[in-house]
Symmetry: C2
Subunit: 252 residues, 2 copies
């Protein structure tokens, strides 16, 4: 019934990576002029958030048919999988990235001021005191939500060594036997894992939306571009590392 879910999930991811590349290129192009067009940036940011919403919706449908496949996807590299938190990035990473970009921009400005050259100017160095307070508040709330979900996943992982699964395993006369009671217990566990994945995706999406709402269009476009570039870089770098370690290239 669910045959091919794995393939569809991989296609969904590959399409998402293709969109990331396309959006990055559009954002960089729009950010390139010395006076970028505010309307164009706002549209691109809106499009970026909508694409993420669409990706999350698709994942939700696919995970409904096969949730386990999203916790360590075969279409991701080993390094990417080692970085996963409940099937995706940690939502707090978005905020960490804003802080690091802000710091880098301030460094560049200082270097420019000192006549030491400095890198290309970014817009995250211009965060106002009010914005910083908002970002800080978002970070504290996000970390708290992450911790709650981390605890929920821990409880689910431990549930396997508890009733009813452990009791069923004990009663089996042969290792790996199945029965109706077991199937029901595993289905129930899958549903709970699915709920955790959907909550994590929702937290990722909401954190992104709220963050983009705090930033100006210029800042948000700069942040989104960098977030996509980093994601694409991690994927490419780790593909090279996977090949070096003798892992089959998934072709993505």
């Amino acid at each position: 019934m669910a045959s091919g879910v794995q393939d569809r999930s991989e296609c969904c991811f590959l399409e998402w990576m293709r969109l990331q590349e396309q959006s990055l290129s559009e954002l960089l192009q729009a950010l390139n002029p010395s006076q970028p067009n505010g309307n164009e940036l706002t549209q691109l940011i809106q499009k970026g958030v909508e694409q993420f919403q669409h990706y999350v919706d698709q994942r939700s449908q696919l995970a409904n048919a096969d949730v386990a496949g999203f916790f360590a996807p075969t279409w991701c590299t080993a390094w990417e999988n080692s970085l996963l938190w409940i099937g995706g990035c940690r939502p707090s990473s978005f905020i960490r990235l804003v802080y690091v970009l802000c710091g880098l921009d301030l460094e560049s400005k200082l270097e420019e001021f000192l006549g030491a050259g400095g890198g290309p100017p970014g817009r995250l160095g211009e965060l106002s005191a009010r914005q910083l307070v908002q970002v800080d508040g978002l970070q504290r709330r996000t970390v708290k939500e992450e911790e709650k979900l981390t605890d929920k996943l821990a409880a689910l992982q431990e549930d396997v060594a508890d009733q009813p699964i452990a009791a069923i395993a004990r009663g089996l006369s042969r290792v790996g036997e199945t029965c109706g009671e077991l199937d029901r217990a595993l289905d129930e566990h899958e549903q709970a894992m699915l709920a955790a994945l959907l909550e994590a995706d929702k937290l990722r999406l909401n954190t992104l939306k709220e963050l983009v709402g705090i930033l100006t269009p210029l800042q948000a476009a700069d942040f989104l571009a960098m977030s996509k570039k980093l994601h694409l870089c991690v994927h490419e770098w780790s593909k090279k590392r996977d090949q070096r370690h003798g892992r089959v290239d998934q072709g993505n």
Copy 2:
């Protein structure tokens, strides 16, 4: 240089699963008589702990060459990978299993007392008050250590969105380009992930050793047998689920 690490890591896991099966069968045989031989049980328990120590040592060597591969092993099923905590089971699961076995044994005794039949008798229902206090202390310490390591992994996962990796990605003119500075940063990150994996393995091993030290030989043998049976069952059950979801059978 590191070519074939992936295959060697898979062989190491398959050999471990083979040993789990063999140990389970030896333990069940030794536990079968109404008056099991204490010396034989002690030897089997000692052997079980030594085998785990050997497995951990082998993993340490293999992870030294390719740590990422241990966080979502290709030789494990999707469901197993969704249950992983830093490359293996949660050490607190061992203790959870002791509690559930204790509860099941007490239920069986009650049913027997009430003339309602009851399951086969286990030995974990005979934990003394002193043992329960010791197990409880071990659980609290283990959960605290798990939390510390969980936080360490979270920090490592977020480091990718921070200096120096994010700064290097920002400076690249083409997505996925590499440079000496990047290689050094990724190597350093790998070393930190390796340290977390080794600490987690050490916690798993020490928790098992301490737990077995609290239990009598009869109880420890019962617990070890059940722990191995559950692990083997989870592997077999999830292989069946993987096949149903169109994932390739890894042949393990």
